[in-house]
Point group: C2
Amino acid sequence: MAGTVFFSVSMSLDGYIAPSSPAELMGKQWMELQHWVFPQRFFRQNLNLGEGGEEGRDNDILRETFERTGANVMGKRMFEAGEHAWPEDAPFHTPVFVVTQAKRDPWERAGGTTFHFVNDGIEAALDQARQAAGDSDVRIAGGGETILSYLNAGLVDEFTIAVSPVLFGAGVRLLEGVDASKVALEQVRSEASAQVTHLTYVVRAR
Amino acid sequence: MAGTVFFSVSMSLDGYIAPSSPAELMGKQWMELQHWVFPQRFFRQNLNLGEGGEEGRDNDILRETFERTGANVMGKRMFEAGEHAWPEDAPFHTPVFVVTQAKRDPWERAGGTTFHFVNDGIEAALDQARQAAGDSDVRIAGGGETILSYLNAGLVDEFTIAVSPVLFGAGVRLLEGVDASKVALEQVRSEASAQVTHLTYVVRAR
């Protein structure tokens, strides 16, 4: 029984998930976008930021998202941005399939994260991720362009967006270029926490 | 005691509130965007579409939005699109202040809607609307460009977006051109119904 293919991101109310340049990735707007994440106990644990932290519904959602994920898929830009930024034990703790032209041996990190570099496209990367995930789900981790490729290819089953009360005005839009003639959505869950609203949609073909 | 200045719109998940051209205004995408509205009892009553209809939380929200509104403000394009489309008793039932260059005497309709044509800008129109609304609230009815002008001018206190599970891919974006350096938001309410999620934000100056 195959798992679900999903993505889960924080989005500003005006539709952005990242600033225009990776250099700004830890900038003010992005910090505001992710503001609901940082104080959570699970996030702090997972990045070795120390004990403690909030334990409400936001924390549960972060933990549940992590626990359902048997393998991650990411684009080369997300990998390159993270390669030198993630801690020694990168925060995925699953096999990670990187869609890239770069040929490279698997890169094993402490804590169960192994990056595999897949050179033959998004479908091949997803196939390998499914295989690795077994009954667990596959998360399309990012970035935006990679998520959109999978969505437009009809390969995403479900996704969750944490809508943050933030306006970017510019940057990388999650759904810019979505093929609206092919992708139909059904709202299956909507859950508000103190700062954000977690919207979950099932993807249907039109 | 002055009322609140607010707007309330349906927005697609990718940020659109209208198709690119007014000619498509009753097209398929827009019908999907507003899909949650049409079966509601209050909507049907208000447009004289007959008795009956749904009476859940979506219906209450439509009625509450109507009942709090003591005066409406709209741009000339929304007025021109509606002028020949609204029924004889236009669905506002309040004074409506139209921001326009056109000089024209007030246009009184059956059922309490009178359109006033204001030629000296958005602040003047809002002043007149506040005056007319008394203790009730002023709704910036639309369209998108007018809403954005008020938002960027710091004249909106609060707004509600019904996020519809629809993708447009193109059209008029609600928050395109928002001044993110000036407008800060606080999520004050988030309420899911079967199809959409109603997100309410208070606007704060940065």
